[in-house]
Symmetry: C2
Subunit: 185 residues, 2 copies
């Protein structure tokens, strides 16, 4: 059975991606290799730099970087979503969006893969949606309680992993990864 | 005359630091060497990594990294101040601070120096103050219009460079740099 390693300390990411990979008979294993993340407004640059500089010999290995981009806030919090979540949190985002009619936003996920030849491949997933007026739900992590994907009336945090994976940026990137792996490894 | 190079695209930084260094008969010259900035909550880590990875042979060379840390916002925007300034801006910070009584904040500056022996030295400057209720002044850059240092009733943006340099984080770090250079180079 094909096995892929992911360098992350976020168990939610491991769960979401492994559910997708399992459908392709690919196993995902989390490893705690420290990641060097650069400052960039481009998630792809961050993920590629991180996977290139991982200090592990395990292959194939992936890094996933994601962000919430809010149109009315010029893309904020974008690549710094986890720092923004830890500091001003959901409450801060909702305060910035008070009286804002344009609530459109998207989540972006970038998976960077390093294979045995040390080649780097990048897989991107995106989901468009909007920022809810108040937080709802307890599943997921980060800004899931205030993000409603288009075509739904529930936030990501009101969905099980299976339901979230029907829409999510991370699931879309993971599917592209799985399809590439089955063809090329 | 001793000359130091600074890798930055920010002319305000060059001006503020060069005014200080000139008092010590040290010349500062800006160079446009691309900087690799990592994501970290520690400015020192960011500056040290950046100066180590500069692609220039000029020495001694410095990198300066600064941030505004607001207590009530758990340190936000901190190391990501320039990204936050570009996206949600001063208006966003003031909105997050609406009805907040604890307006205390500080600016931190970290200068990392690489000398001819490739040794790295770090100089830190800090200024405590508070976030004003509304923006005032047109001097300076970034969040200067909403930061009032302790002992003043004007924002940094209401001060000339000379006045700002009496208080500023960047001036304090630059003075430490100058004193170290005069003793060691």
């Amino acid at each position: 059975m094909l096995k892929v390693y992911i360098a992350t300390g976020n168990r939610h990411k491991v769960e979401e991606i492994s559910r997708i990979l399992r459908e392709y008979d690919i196993l995902l294993e989390g490893i705690k290799s420290p990641k060097l993340e650069i400052q960039s407004e481009n998630l792809e640059d961050i993920a590629v730099f991180a996977v290139k500089n991982l200090k592990t010999d395990l292959r194939p290995v992936i890094v996933e970087d994601a962000g919430l981009f809010i149109y009315a806030l010029n893309g904020f919090p974008g690549p710094y979503s986890s720092y923004v979540y830890k500091t001003i949190g959901i409450e801060g985002i909702l305060r910035l969006m008070e009286n804002e009619n344009n609530r459109r936003a998207y989540f972006l996920s970038t998976i960077a893969l390093k294979n045995k030849k040390e080649d780097i491949k990048v897989f991107i997933g995106k989901v468009e949606g909007y920022i809810s007026k108040s937080p709802k739900g307890t599943w997921g992590f980060g800004f899931d309680p205030i993000f409603i994907p288009i075509g739904e009336n529930r936030t990501f945090a009101e969905m099980t992993i299976e339901e979230k994976n029907k829409y999510s940026h991370r699931a879309k990137a993971a599917k592209k990864l799985a399809e590439w792996l089955l063809k090329n490894i």
